[in-house]
């Protein structure tokens, strides 16, 4: 019963957002049903489009899963964009340096490089927060800017496609080694290995968060740092770990974006969104919609992935700017976060008191402080 309530409320909230979208489509002089049809067709119309939707969802899922770690440890990571870029740059550098290495070696190395690159970019704000009291919101915002310019610099200079130097000077790498490409899973579609990798990552993070001492420590620090410290847990180390892991998963998203892209190369348009498609922000949305739970983030990411592919089709067919989809994403966030309170009220009314995620077994540790609300991090309400 509680579980059903838990799912219905955010879905209802999403419905409100779509209602707004429908009103906007009417205001733009189009039939909202046509709009919905175009979106569904764009996201699921053909096997290839379903695959494209899954591929679009993958970076959201990886960033989102990383976000669940950070937010569970009560650190706000809005540096996803920068961490994606850092992971992409390091993994691309590896692929450029040793292109002829056999696939069985190169692909894991590239993935590892992405994790390391993103991890470092995430750990820096962690260290700054833990040991220099620099707020992570400030440092992640600033590091996004640094990462973008670093990418611009590297793609115009050291990493540029040699052909481009005397040609159009496009800031992009050469086509990367096929040995580093994420293999296509179903011939004729874009579905590549990155999709199952992201799903496995989500499951691993779930296990890590709820089944291991590390996960317990992270959540304990997030729940009540003073109590955690009293229990002998290093708050500093766990903050660095949380942001590092969160960044590593975003870095992996960077790998997927480069080595699963149509063009198999890293290209910049001078900003971050041209490369990331704002996955660093949309991933936060996906994580939230998945109630900051790694497993629920999987279907949530696919929903937002389909919204994005659907919006492309909406623009193609009805000339409705895909800016509408971005606005809708924002509304969904607002409605969903607001609905959390409703869910709590409803749960209380039902006199069950068990929040939505309690259905999934929690960490085995008996001392584990229970999450107090559906999204787990709103513990200030207690």
């Amino acid at each position: 019963m509680t579980r059903i309530t838990g799912a219905i409320v955010p879905l209802g909230a999403a419905l409100f957002a779509f209602l707004f979208g429908a009103l906007m489509i009417v205001a733009l002089g189009e039939n909202p049903l046509d709009g919905l049809g175009a979106m569904i067709d764009g996201a699921f119309g053909t096997g290839d489009r379903v695959a494209a939707t899954a591929v679009r969802a993958t970076p959201l899922l990886l960033v989102g899963v990383g976000i669940t770690i950070a937010f569970r440890a009560s650190v706000i990571n809005i540096g996803g964009e920068g961490q994606i870029i850092a992971g992409a740059l390091l993994s691309t550098a590896v692929a450029l340096a040793i292109p002829d290495t056999p696939k069985i070696v190169l692909l894991p190395l590239v993935i590892l490089a992405g994790l390391v690159g993103g991890g470092i970019w995430g750990a820096i704000p962690g260290v700054l927060k833990a040991y220099a009291s620099v707020n992570e919101i400030l440092s992640t915002i600033m590091l996004n800017i640094v990462a973008i310019q670093l990418m611009n610099y590297l793609l115009r200079g050291p990493m540029i496609d040699p052909i481009e130097v005397d040609g159009s000077n496009i800031p992009q790498t050469e086509r990367l080694s096929d040995n580093a490409a994420l293999p296509t899973l179903i011939e004729g579609t874009r579905l590549h290995l990155g999709v199952p990798i992201a799903i496995i990552a989500a499951i691993l993070v779930y296990v890590m968060l709820f089944r291991t001492p590390l996960g317990f420590r992270l959540r304990a620090v997030g729940h009540n740092p003073d109590a955690a410290r009293a229990a002998g847990i290093s708050v500093e180390k766990n903050i660095v770990t949380a942001l590092g892991l969160s960044g590593a998963l975003s870095g992996l998203a960077g790998v997927v974006l480069v080595f699963g892209s149509e063009s198999l190369r890293l290209v910049t348009d001078g900003g971050s969104a041209g490369f990331t498609g704002s996955a660093g922000f949309n991933g936060i949305v996906a994580a939230l919609f998945g109630a900051l739970h790694p497993l629920w983030t999987i279907p949530s990411s696919f929903l937002f992935g389909s919204l994005l592919t659907g919006a492309t089709e909406l623009q193609r067919e009805l000339q409705i700017p895909n800016a509408l989809a971005i606005a809708l994403n924002g509304l969904i966030v607002l409605f969903v976060v607001s609905s959390d309170k409703v869910r709590t009220w409803l749960n209380r009314r039902l006199d069950r008191g068990t929040p939505f995620e309690a259905e999934i077994p929690d960490a085995p540790d008996p001392d584990d402080p229970p999450d107090v609300s559906g999204v787990g991090i709103a513990e200030g309400a207690s």
Partner: protein
């Protein structure tokens, strides 16, 4: 339970209602057309007779009316009487790739991938649709694909002409560039060379690092103005901020890509305008004859793809004007190298 949900609903609806009001209030105001120059010299783009029955789709990174790169293509298609299906503003490369693929799947005959950065994706898409012809620019090669035409402007040519005239107006020249790449850097390099050929020392060139950061482009132009330049030029959609600074400081302005008179009629001296229709019409003829690609074409002053549009409202010294005409002829004749 019911009352809780109801009050919640009411709150949400209230929010929704407020937004809807704005939306409706704004929506009732019809979108305006293109801006026209006060002087009336900039008559806009005339729609030509349709040259083909083939269907055309355009995917472009900025807005279709950006007074820059994308608009130059839309205007060119209009001159050919072609009304393409458009997906604009797709600066996210993977989104553009999805749109390009979808048009090809829909059976569109000619898909224009109007962004250099789309090339990598096109190399993967084009082989999947051998019956479709793809046009890609700005690019100087077709990546060996038989169904891809590449197009590029020799932007340095018009840059050279602009620079040459600019140096005749003032030896202190400021350039606001976006990112040192593609036709932006070609234009800037040509501009610098042209200015130096006419006696200016070295125009101050600043790349802001962004195609879209208007604030930075504006402050960069202001910095140039403070340094005492007499002439400004700039490229990319962020240049609009720099044009405003030219206006505020009475500085001559040189445009590129599309005609920027619409922005500032009095101070635009000349604009290098891309007339893609010159190469497009050749491509379309060849496509109708069954050759779907395999050739790279460039816009030059010689083939009429680059047009120097002088602003009738700007009082340009006649000797300088005729010198400029001479430079254009020399470039066409190959007596001046602009690279």
């Amino acid at each position: 339970m019911k009352s809780v949900r109801k009050s919640q609903l009411l709150k949400l609806l209230g929010t929704l209602f407020a937004f809807t009001l704005i939306a409706v209030a704004c929506g009732s105001d019809d979108a305006t057309g293109t801006a026209t120059s006060d002087c009336g010299t900039n008559t806009g783009v005339e729609e030509g007779d349709s040259v083909t029955d083939l269907t055309v789709a355009l995917v472009a990174p900025s807005a279709k009316d950006d007074v820059a790169f994308t608009q130059s293509m839309v205007d060119s298609l209009t001159r050919l009487g072609i009304e393409p299906a458009i997906t604009d503003g797709t600066f996210v490369v993977e989104e553009a790739a999805a749109a390009i693929r979808a048009y090809a799947e829909d059976g569109v005959d000619i898909v224009i991938a109007h962004g250099t950065q789309y090339g990598g994706s096109l190399a993967e898409i084009a082989p999947d649709f051998p019956e479709t012809s793809f046009l890609w620019g700005t690019a100087t090669d077709t990546q060996g694909l038989p169904n891809v035409y590449a197009y590029a402007p020799e932007a340095d040519q018009g840059g050279y002409v602009n620079g040459y005239i600019a140096a005749g107006i003032s030896v202190d020249i400021g350039v606001v560039g976006p990112v040192d790449a593609g036709d932006a850097s070609a234009y800037v390099n040509g501009f610098v060379k042209g200015a130096q050929a006419n006696g200016a020392s070295a125009p101050a060139v600043v790349y802001t690092g962004s195609f879209s950061d208007v604030a930075l482009a504006t402050e960069t132009a202001q910095a140039h103005a403070d340094n005492g330049v007499g002439v400004l030029t700039g490229t990319s959609q962020s240049a609009v901020g720099a044009v405003n600074i030219a206006t505020a400081n009475d500085l001559a302005w040189f445009g590129t890509q599309s005609n920027t008179e619409a922005w500032e009629s009095d101070l635009t001296v000349a604009s290098q305008v891309y007339h893609w229709d010159v190469v497009l019409s050749t491509m379309i003829e060849q496509i109708e004859d069954g050759t779907l690609g395999g050739e790279a074409m460039v816009l030059t002053l010689e083939n009429g793809g680059l047009v120097m549009e002088f602003n009738g409202c700007y009082d340009l010294e006649s000797s300088l004007r005729s010198d400029a005409e001479g430079v254009i002829e020399d470039i066409i004749a190959g007596d001046i190298t602009t690279k």
